[in-house]
């Protein structure tokens, strides 16, 4: 049952990330990384909240945590984007993208984890 829930959550997360990436590209131009950064931060906050609450049923963790949040967010695109921005001789953008995603993503996860723990 668990793997099925993971797959169902993932099948919602991946197209949503594609939508965010396409919206960012449509609004900000080709190669925009804003969509990927946004879903990575948002997914980190949701997963932080889910794990911070404690006592969340296993099925919900599989569906929303491992499946949806895990797939809404991505690490491979982040790594490849940093390489691409480096090749385009845009080290400032690469550093801002990488540093911003880490800072905002881990910060959002930490804040959500802490707030959920107070509930």
């Amino acid at each position: 049952m668990t793997p099925l829930l993971v797959v169902v959550g993932a099948m919602a997360g991946a197209p949503l990330r594609l939508l965010a990436e396409r919206l960012a590209v449509a609004r900000r131009g080709h190669g925009s990384v804003v969509g990927t950064a946004a879903v990575n931060v948002a997914g980190s906050a949701v997963l932080g909240f889910l794990l911070g609450v404690g006592g969340v049923p296993a099925w919900l963790l599989a569906l929303v945590g491992t499946g949806f949040c895990g797939t809404l967010t991505t690490f491979s695109t982040l790594g490849a984007d940093v390489v691409r921005l480096g090749e385009q001789r845009r080290p400032g953008t690469a550093a801002a993208y990488l540093g911003g995603t880490l800072l905002l993503g881990i910060g959002a996860a930490g804040a959500a984890y802490g707030i959920a723990g107070l509930l």
């Binding site: 980190s44 690490f75 491979s76």
Partner: protein, 142 residues
């Protein structure tokens, strides 16, 4: 120049979303399987996430250097493999929350080390994949 990893600019075709959903399901299933095989507690080094993230970066780099350079116009190939399979296989949210949990467990140095190894390793693996993919492409043109 390295092609963009995202499918933007290839239209808003519905097939891209379907391909991303199918690929994402497969990738997440692989990530779940590895997490089941390599369990860890909140105070331990997250081997499973590190493994999927580094190998996912390597394979995406290979695809970008080798496959996507050849067929940039396909409406489903990149959404399926890049956005779906590898996007679903790798994850940022687990990295972020595991970093928080390691810090919360009183191991901030281990948390910092985990972030550094993930980032340096991931970007390095993606670059290695791209270079390897391009050299293979030159050896076998067409």
């Amino acid at each position: 120049m390295l092609p963009d990893d995202r499918a933007g600019g290839q239209g808003d075709s519905v097939i891209g979303y379907v391909a991303a959903a199918l690929g994402g399901g497969l990738g997440a299933l692989g990530r779940w399987g590895i997490a089941e095989a390599l369990p860890h507690d909140a105070a331990g080094w997250p081997w499973a996430t590190l493994l999927v993230n580094l190998t996912g970066c390597l394979v995406l780099g290979l695809l970008l250097g080798l496959v996507f350079a050849r067929s940039p116009g396909s409406p489903w190939l990149r959404p399926f493999l890049g956005t779906g399979v590898l996007g679903g296989f790798t994850t940022f949210s687990a990295l972020a929350v595991e970093t928080v949990q390691l810090t919360d467990a009183g191991r901030p140095q281990l948390a910092a080390g985990y972030v550094v190894v993930s980032v340096v390793g991931g970007v390095g693996a993606a670059a290695l994949g791209v270079m390897t993919g391009r050299s293979r492409l030159r050896q076998a043109p067409g």
